[in-house]
Amino acid sequence: MNIRYISHRLLVVMAMMGASVPALAVGPGFKLPPAETGEQVYVQACQTCHQPGGKGGAGAASAYPALANNPKLGVAAYPILTILRGRAAMPWFGGTLSSAQIAKLVTYLRTNFGNNYATPVTEDDVKKLSVNLPVSGE
C-alpha cells in the first residue's frame, strides 16, 4: 500500500479492530431523513412554526397562521409563492426545498388539515413560479 495515503479500506479494517469494544456505535451519523412525501416535508420544514396539525401559533405567536381550514390554500399559487419567497417572519425555501418537494408539500397541505382542494400541484407548477433569491456576501 502506498504510504502516502490512508485509504477507506484501511479505515474499515481499523473500525473492525475496534469492533470488540462493546456498546458504542460507529456509524455514518444521524442523517436528515429523506423528505419524500408531503407529510415528511411538512414535519421537517414547517411544523416548527405552524405546529403539528397545522394549527398555527397561539397567544403571542397567533401571527403564525393556521394552515388547517385555511381558504388561502384554495389558490395553489399563494402557498407556492409564499414558500418560495418567504413572507414576514417566514423564511424563504426557494433553493432549500426542491420543486418536487414543494409540489408534494403544497398538495399535502391542500388535502389535509381539513383542507379539501383535490387538484394536485405539479413540479412544473412550482418551477414556473421559481425564483432564486441571492443574498450578497453569504
Binding site: M1, I3, I6, L10, L11, M14, A15, M17, G18, V21, L24, V26, S136, G137, E138
Partner: protein, 528 residues
C-alpha cells in the same frame, strides 16, 4: 512500507490502554488515523523508593522542580541546588522593579507599570502540551487564552506593498483567491487530467470556487463576497448609508511579494495551532507554583563547579555565590537539569560519549524586547486584540498582550522576537540601542510608537549569564550521534531538560524529559 503505521499504532494502543482503560481505548480506536496528541500518560507513578534513598537535583527550572516534586512524592530524600536566587529558570517574568544583568555586567532596570510584564522565555502553551497543562491544574496555576491567530494583525514586508503593512486577512484572502483561480482554470483546461479523476476534478473546481471565493467564471475579482473575507472599503452599516462597498483585491504579483504563505504556514504549525494558553499574571506563575511545593528543598545561589560520582553515589561541589564558601552535596543519584551551554563548562564525571553529547548541542540566542506604551493604540486605533504582526525586519514580529484587553492606561507589547541571524546584531547592541532599533522598526508598522512610548527592556538570551543561550538546537546529525548518549543514565547521573527531548525550546520538552529521566532513575534504584 505498510509499516509506517503499524508499529507506532500498536505502541499507541499500549500507551492508551495503560492510561485510560476501555473508554480511552475506544476513543483511540474510533479515532484511528488521528494523530496522537501527546506522549504524556499522566504523572509518573513512582512508588516504593528504598528507604533513605537520596537524589540531588541540579537546577530549579521546570525539569528540576518536577523531578524533585515527583521523587519526593515517591519517597526519595531530595535536595535541589540552584544557581540563581529564584526558582523557575527560563520560566520567568520581568515586572516593574526587577533588574537583570547581562554577561558583561550591563544592567537593566524594568520600569513597567503595575500589572504589566514581559515573559522573556517561554510565553505560550499549546493545547496538546498536556504534561504542562496537567501540572498547571495540579499546582493551581490559572490559565487564559493566548490569542495566537489574529486575522486583523499586520503582515509587513519591506519589499511588498511599498513597505506598507497590510492586514493578514486581506493578503491571505488574496493568496488563496489567486491560487484557487489558477488551479481551477488549470483543471478546467484539462491540464491535470492525468493526475485527478473526472469526479475529483469537478469536486476540486467546486472546492476552489468555494474556498477561493471565485466568481461564476472561476475568476478571483473584487466583489462584496470577496470583501466578506478580506474586509470592505466601507463595511456594512445601518440606515441610509448602510450599504457596504467592496475593497480592491491585490494582484498575484503583489501577493507574492508579501510572502504571506509564511505567515499562513506558521499558523498551521502543530505547536502554534489554536487554542493556546498563558498563565494569568505571567509565565513564572508555573515555576512559582512548583516552588510552593518544593521550595523548601532548594538551596539558592549555589554555583555548581563539579559533578563527581563513584560506585556509591554522587558528590556535587558548589560555591555559595554570595559568600564564596565551597561545599559538597552527596546523594545516591543525581538528576542534572543544568542547560548544556552551562554544563559543558563544568567538570562532570561521565563517560566520554555523554561528555561529547553535552558539547554537541549549540544554543540559540533569541532576543525579546518588551515595550511599554501609554495606551493600547493597537486596540483603540487598529482593532488588534492580541496575536502577532509579522515583519521581515530583524524584530521579526510585534506581539500584542493577551490580557487586560480594553483596559485604559499603559500596556506592554512584545516589540521584538528576533532569532537566528536577526538576533546577533540586536544582542550586540547596548540595551538603549536595542530599544531604539525596536522602535525604529516597529514604527514602520505602528506610526503611533514614538508618541506613545514610555520605556522598554530587552533580554538577549546569548548574554544571559545563567543560561548562556535560549535553548538547545539539535540537527538531524547531532541527534543521530548524540541524543541517546545524552539521555541514557550514566552511572548515577541522568540529564533532563528541554535539551534532552524532541520538544526542544518548549516547557513540555523539559517536563517530558524529566518524567522520563526520573522514571528510569527510579527503575535503576529499585534494581540496584
Amino acid at each position: 512500507m505498510d509499516d509506517i503505521n503499524a508499529p507506532t499504532r500498536r505502541k499507541l494502543f499500549e500507551t492508551i490502554g495503560k492510561a485510560g482503560g476501555m473508554v480511552a481505548l475506544y476513543q483511540a480506536m474510533t479515532s484511528l488515523g488521528h494523530a496522537a496528541e501527546t506522549q504524556f500518560n499522566g504523572p509518573p507513578k513512582l512508588s516504593g523508593a528504598r528507604k533513605g534513598s537520596t537524589v540531588v537535583v541540579l537546577g530549579a527550572g521546570l525539569a528540576g522542580m518536577l523531578a524533585a516534586y515527583e521523587l519526593t512524592k515517591a519517597g526519595y530524600k531530595v535536595r535541589i541546588l540552584e544557581f540563581q536566587g529564584r526558582p523557575g529558570g527560563r520560566n520567568y517574568t520581568l515586572r516593574g522593579g526587577d533588574s537583570h544583568t547581562e554577561i558583561d555586567g550591563t544592567t537593566q532596570k524594568v520600569e513597567f507599570s503595575q500589572g504589566n510584564y514581559l515573559n522573556p522565555g517561554p510565553w505560550r502553551i499549546p493545547h496538546h502540551h498536556r504534561t504542562l497543562l496537567h501540572y498547571c491544574k495540579q499546582l493551581g496555576v490559572q490559565l487564559e487564552p493566548f490569542i495566537q491567530l489574529n486575522h486583523n494583525a499586520y503582515v509587513h514586508n519591506t519589499d511588498a506593498f511599498a513597505g506598507k503593512p497590510v492586514r493578514y486577512k486581506a493578503v491571505a484572502t488574496d493568496f488563496k483567491g489567486h491560487i484557487s483561480e489558477l488551479l481551477a482554470k488549470s483543471l478546467q483546461q484539462n491540464a491535470l487530467d492525468e493526475k485527478v479523476t473526472t469526479e475529483d476534478k469537478e469536486r476540486l473546481i467546486e472546492a476552489m470556487r468555494g474556498w477561493g471565493v471565485l466568481d461564476k467564471d472561476l475568476s478571483y475579482k473584487s466583489s462584496l463576497k470577496v470583501s466578506g473575507q478580506r474586509g470592505y472599503d466601507q463595511p456594512p452599516g445601518a440606515g441610509l448609508g448602510g450599504v457596504p462597498t467592496p475593497s480592491n483585491i491585490t494582484t498575484l504579483h503583489d501577493v507574492l511579494d508579501s510572502k504571506v504563505w509564511n505567515t499562513m504556514s506558521f499558523y498551521f504549525s502543530y505547536v502554534m495551532q489554536t487554542t493556546m494558553f498563558q498563565p494569568v499574571g505571567g509565565i513564572d506563575m508555573i515555576g512559582k507554583g512548583f516552588a510552593r511545593e518544593v521550595g523548601h528543598l532548594i538551596t539558592y545561589n549555589a554555583k555548581v563547579s563539579k559533578i563527581g560520582q563513584n560506585a556509591k553515589g554522587v558528590t556535587i561541589t558548589y560555591e555559595d555565590a554570595l559568600t564564596g564558601a565551597v561545599s559538597q552535596a552527596k546523594a545516591d543519584y543525581c538528576v542534572c537539569t543544568i542547560p548544556l551551554s552551562v554544563l559543558s563548562q563544568l567538570e562532570v564525571q561521565v563517560s566520554d560519549e555523554k561528555a561529547a553529547a553535552i558539547k554537541a548541542v549549540p544554543y540559540s540566542g533569541q532576543v525579546k524586547i518588551g515595550l511599554e506604551f501609554k495606551r493600547r493604540f493597537w486596540e483603540e486605533d487598529e482593532s488588534i486584540y492580541g496575536g502577532h504582526s509579522f515583519t521581515n525586519q530583524p524584530i521579526s514580529l510585534v506581539s500584542y498582550p493577551n490580557f487586560n484587553f480594553f483596559q485604559k492606561g499603559p500596556a506592554v507589547l512584545l516589540g521584538a522576537f528576533a532569532s537566528g541571524a536577526n538576533a546577533y546584531p540586536l544582542a550586540g547592541m547596548t540595551p538603549e540601542q536595542r530599544i531604539e532599533a525596536a522602535l525604529a522598526q516597529g514604527e514602520a508598522i505602528h506610526p503611533q510608537y514614538r508618541k506613545e512610548y514610555m520605556n522598554g527592556t530587552s533580554v538577549a538570551w546569548s548574554r544571559v549569564p545563567w543560561s548562556l543561550g535560549c535553548c538547545a538546537q539539535w540537527n538531524d546529525e547531532s541527534r543521530k550521534e548524540h541524543y541517546q548518549n545524552m539521555v541514557s543514565m550514566d552511572g548515577r547521573i541522568v540529564l533532563a531538560g528541554e535539551h534532552a527531548s524532541y520538544y526542544g525550546c518548549w516547557m513540555e520538552g523539559a517536563m517530558l524529559s524529566s518524567i522520563d529521566a526520573i522514571t528510569r532513575l527510579h527503575k535503576r534504584a529499585l534494581e540496584a
